[in-house]
């Protein structure tokens, strides 16, 4: 979600960094909650105990990858 391309000045850069900071926190939370939650749901469904752990790892990995795609590329 890049901001619109007008006035590329210094304050734009700091705003972008602030934007990135809060978005990253959101993505990391979303990764853990969504995939951790799906794993927990599978545990409930299948009566296992390890799916939540797999889900949390998957979610953490996916959110880090997503953060890299959004802010680390270019």
């Amino acid at each position: 979600m890049s901001l619109s391309n007008s006035n590329q000045d210094d304050s734009k850069n700091s705003q972008n960094e602030e934007n990135a900071l809060w978005s990253i926190v959101g993505y990391l939370l979303a990764g853990l909650f969504i995939w951790g939650g799906i794993g927990w749901g599978f545990d409930r469904w299948l009566g296992t105990t390890y799916c939540v752990l797999i889900g949390l790892f998957l979610g953490a990995g996916a959110s880090v990858y997503l953060v890299w795609l959004r802010f680390g590329r270019d």
Partner: protein
Amino acid sequence: MTIEKWNSLNLLEGEVRPGFRAPDAGDFVFPSIFGDSVLTTKPVILVFFSVILVSTFFIASSRKALVVPSKIQFAGEMVYGFVRNEIGKDVIGSEFQRFVPFLFTIFTFVLTNNIFGIIPLIQFPTMSRIGFPVAITIFVYLTYHFVAIRKHGLFKYLKDMCFMPGIPKFMYVILAPLELATYFVIRPLTLAMRLFGNMFAGHLLLILFTLGGEYMLHDKLIMKIFSVFSFGFSLGFTFFEFFVQCLQAYIFTLLSALYIAGALADEH
């Protein structure tokens, strides 16, 4: 020094009192002032008061606008200029003007209600009751989704959100739920919780140090001496709270602007 000497100094003497009751969430619940209506509890009255206060101030600062501004006009224009330029123009870009009233309202409303927390006699940050941050967040939430859907159309908005170009197809299965959750759940949740949590925790700290100091003041002599530190902390935290209250009002408005900017951007 021996214990007898300590005792003879009367440092440790004192009446036995019931234990200190630490402040908790119950200290944020106020009884209704008139009857049973929730509309006459302290937080709700403070919200109405803040609306009157903000409106009066900005009407007074703008009704006799002069080229060479008076002091109150200057103060009003400074706040307006800050929201317009630092938050609106820098974040949203070319289409910022139609969002300035919205952002300006949020900023002044949240700021006033936060600062109530350290105003003597009022001393309650309204935003430490979760309902108020949630209500503002609902407006922000509806706004940025509405703006995006009107600009891009619902289908393209969701498609851009879920499917970022240039990554392997199978990754979409893993990443799309995260994007959806971020836009629809995590963003509003963190927006409301951040403001609520900061105000709640800050107010709790102030109550703790003030009530703790007051409790120790009525205790043994050695406790009376330590109560000075407790009161000192509560004074220090009052200044710190002022900083946090301004910062949180700024961050809340800034994030609202960022979400609107994201909704307007061509690619997500």
